[in-house]
């Protein structure tokens, strides 16, 4: 039985294990951040959990099942942690799961290139479970760095199986599954050899162990004795709720702990120095092991990494390189999307006529015919033709940069700015995730330890445009701001303008963070530690196939489920008349006066409102609405589209305001749902809704009013 609220009666952990049969073995996959746990997870389960080269990529716990020799194994991917001492809510869940869940085996994934520091977690885990398998991953990378790891030797010293793997290349996995099976069946024939602490600590532990043994036989008494001496509040809470009673209130235990603490105190140890001593002894043990089993002959590789890092972070080159990289990605997206976009629109709009003819031939009623072809189909065609290509190009490019390990350097470069706004540098990471999807960015904020800084990151995530908003921005820039130029000049100018717009978004992120820090989320910045992982060669082919494939399917699915009904609504509104004018005109006329203040028009504002479920459909809806009141019928390219927009009174100011409002308005419904889940509070959710909306409206209003005044002068 896995650990659920039902099975234990205690809410020890929030993790629910999904099994196929009750006999499935539960395997926990733990390890330091960024050692390739998710890659091992994917390789074993055949799933496609997204991986990225930065610590904290896995938030929440992924689960998957694999089948081996007639048995099912439920694999739980736990967020990376340096030790079993928790710092954040996320780490607490991981720790409680490892300590208190009924797990059949724990696989600790280590990085072969820095095994010594990874062993700290291994040694701690050995104290809580005798069913541990050490998986030394990234052996291929270690080989490139001329590091040799003697896994057999480590296995002898630790007394548990140690399996070398290169999960990215699917090497060593069959040995790993075989060892997992042997361990769950108690066939490994090995007993873990635990860390011997300094003699004072060992004596103190021996004083408590007998008393603890009588309380529970489910947890190892030596480890429990150590934890009672350690006296970490959050751990004791979890322990009490697991045991169903307060351990330190049991007389025998309380007595033993008291005398052990008195003994330690006489030897000169207080709570702080005791904890320091534990960590020091664990690290000393880890060093002994690594000295015996690891050999490094060359540091050339490290020197190259260091040169790269200095180039990417130095005073003179750090920020320019970052901007160039952004510009480059945007340029590739813009110029790369042109051709498939034209191809798709020719194809899809070419199909409209045959489709219409088909409807006529089956004698479909004209209202249904119109609604399906001119309502639903047309919006779908717009979404696919204009929105899909830039998304399908931007996402894999961004993923490659992420796989390479560049994002933590961005956080490193930008931390100072975030610190000045009293926020956390890791917010730069969640901001970058927002480029892919704001909902993902909001969930990613779990990597930020301080609750105050995490809230700031959640509330401001929407200030960077997500994948769904890029195409809108790109098409408007192409139509209104680079007209008259062609070829590379046009695409480069577009990329520069888009970069500028993104910088505006980043600037607003910082400004909003600062304002939040000074008002509702007062506080000083907390401490900050960020690991800068080594650069890794991205798995280019895999990234391309997976992100294009997953993204394409995802967007198409969303287009069908969201754009189709929206298209239907628009069509109905354009065709149902009330008092001589269409419903659409009524609505846009109602919104028009307010929208004009913002430099938009009623149709656009309505499109933004209807686009609440997904930003991808805002432009297609606006186009549909304009078209329904126009006599023109051919709109299959941006030139014709621009004419349509000009005919509806667009100026460069309308275009600019639409872009600003697209960059800064309410988050889409998916993002808001994530915000509600992450903050657990409607108030913060409402603030996340109104903050970017208010900023966007103010900016549009000032721009419009400013331009009006200038033109009057």
């Amino acid at each position: 039985m896995g650990l659920t609220k039902q099975s234990t009666g205690h809410s020890v952990t929030e993790l629910d294990i999904k099994k196929l049969t009750p006999n499935d073995k539960v395997i926990a996959l733990a390890g330091n951040p960024n050692v390739g746990k998710s890659t091992v997870f994917n390789a074993l389960t055949g799933m496609h959990q997204h991986t990225g080269n930065w610590p904290g990529k896995t938030v929440g716990s992924a689960q998957g099942i694999y089948h081996y020799k007639n048995e099912n194994y439920a694999l739980v991917d736990i967020p990376g942690t340096y030790s079993l001492v928790s710092h954040s809510a996320e780490e607490e869940i991981a720790r409680d799961f490892l300590c208190f869940a009924n797990i059949d085996a724990i696989v600790i994934v280590c990085d072969a290139t820095c095994l010594a520091r990874n062993l700290n977690l291994v040694l701690q885990t050995l104290e809580i479970s005798d069913r541990v398998i050490v998986c030394v991953n990234l052996m291929d990378e270690a080989k490139r760095k001329h590091i040799t790891v003697n896994c057999k030797k480590i296995s002898e010293i630790l007394g548990v199986p140690v399996v070398p793997t290169s999960a990215g290349k699917k090497k060593g996995l069959s040995t790993l599954t075989a060892e997992i099976r042997r361990t769950t069946q108690n066939l490994s024939g090995k007993t873990p050899k635990l860390t011997q602490y300094r003699s004072e600590i060992e004596s103190a532990v021996a004083m408590i162990e007998p008393a603890v043994q009588s309380v529970t036989d489910k947890l190892p008494s030596r480890w429990l004795a150590l934890k009672l001496l350690d006296h970490e509040e959050s751990f004791l809470r979890s322990l009490d709720s697991y045991l169903g009673c307060s351990v330190l209130e049991i007389p025998a235990v309380a007595e033993a702990v008291k005398s052990a603490k008195a003994f330690l105190s006489a030897k000169g140890y207080d709570t702080v120095s005791f904890r320091d001593a534990l960590v020091c002894d664990l690290y000393r043990h880890a060093e002994t092991i690594s000295q015996a089993a690891i050999r490094q002959t060359d540091t050339l590789h490290d020197r190259r990494q260091l040169r790269t890092d200095r180039l990417l972070t130095s005073k003179w080159t750090g920020i320019p390189v970052m901007l160039c990289m952004l510009l480059c990605i945007l340029w590739l997206t813009i110029s790369g999307a042109n051709y498939p976009s034209a191809l798709l629109s020719n194809l899809l709009f070419g199909l409209e006529e045959p489709l219409s003819a088909l409807c006529t031939s089956v004698h479909m009623p004209s209202w249904l015919h119109g609604a399906l072809v001119f309502g639903v189909y047309r919006v779908l065609a717009w979404v696919v033709a204009v929105m899909l290509p830039p998304m399908a190009i931007f996402f894999p490019l961004f993923t490659l940069l992420e796989d390479l390990g560049y994002l933590p350097r961005v956080a490193f470069n930008l931390d100072h700015a975030f610190k000045r706004c009293r926020a956390c540098g890791k917010q730069a990471l969640t901001m970058c995730m927002g480029f892919g999807c704001n909902a993902a960015g909001v969930i990613g904020c779990r990597i930020i330890d301080s609750p105050r800084e995490r809230l700031i990151a959640i509330l401001t995530n929407n200030f960077v445009p997500c994948n769904g908003r890029f195409p809108t921005l790109i098409s408007i820039i192409t139509m209104f701001f680079v007209a008259g130029t062609t070829g590379i000049v046009s695409t480069v100018t577009s990329a520069i303008l888009l970069t500028g717009l993104i910088l505006l978004g980043i600037f607003m992120t910082l400004l909003a963070s600062r304002i939040l820090s000074d008002t509702v989320l007062k506080g000083i910045p907390s401490s900050f530690t960020l690991e800068l992982p080594p650069y890794r060669r991205p798995q280019v082919g895999k990234v391309l196939i997976r992100s294009v494939f997953d993204r394409t399917l995802f967007v198409l699915g969303r287009a069908i489920s969201v754009a189709a009904p929206a298209g239907l609504i628009i069509y109905c509104m354009a065709n149902i008349t009330l008092g001589g004018t269409t419903l659409l005109s009524h609505c846009s006329a109602f919104l028009d006066p307010f929208a004009r203040l913002l430099g938009l028009d009623g149709v656009l504002l309505m499109a933004f409102i209807l686009g609440f479920p997904a930003n991808e459909i805002v432009m297609p809806i606006a186009i549909m609405a304009y078209m329904s009141e126009s006599t023109l019928t051919e709109f299959n390219n941006l030139v014709a589209l621009k004419e349509l927009l000009l005919a509806n009174g667009w100026t460069w100011l309308t275009a600019a305001c639409t872009m600003i409002f697209s960059l800064m308005h309410w988050p889409c419904s998916t993002t808001l749902i994530s915000i509600k889940k992450e903050t657990g509070n409607w108030g913060w959710t409402a603030l996340a809704f109104f903050l970017p909306t208010a900023v966007g409206m103010l900016l549009c209003f000032f721009l419009t009013t400013g331009v009006k005044i200038v033109s009057l002068l």
Binding site: A116, F412, S526, S527, T529, L530, E531
Partner: protein, 79 residues
């Protein structure tokens, strides 16, 4: 042997951890990362603004802000 705090370590130089003045959560975090007594730590490079800086400790590169580095006392030996 001279004692000073980690934020004063020049880029490229190496020193040895003596003691942590940090308290609470950040102390545990630093210990977990491996800032234990006598561990060598070197400053590899700094960010464009000069803060945070990146330190090499136990084969990993960790970025620390100067406020946190100030809490780590180190000594320079024989060099």
């Amino acid at each position: 042997m001279s004692y000073f705090n980690l934020s004063k370590l020049p880029v490229g130089a190496t020193a040895y951890v003596q003691r942590l003045h940090a308290e609470g959560a950040i102390r545990r975090r630093l210990l977990d990362i491996g800032f234990t007594q006598n561990t060598p730590v070197s400053c590899l490079y700094q960010s464009p603004a000069g803060d945070p800086r990146a330190y090499l400790i136990r084969d990993a590169v960790i970025a620390l802000r100067s406020e946190d580095a100030k809490q780590i006392e180190v000594d320079c030996r024989d060099n």
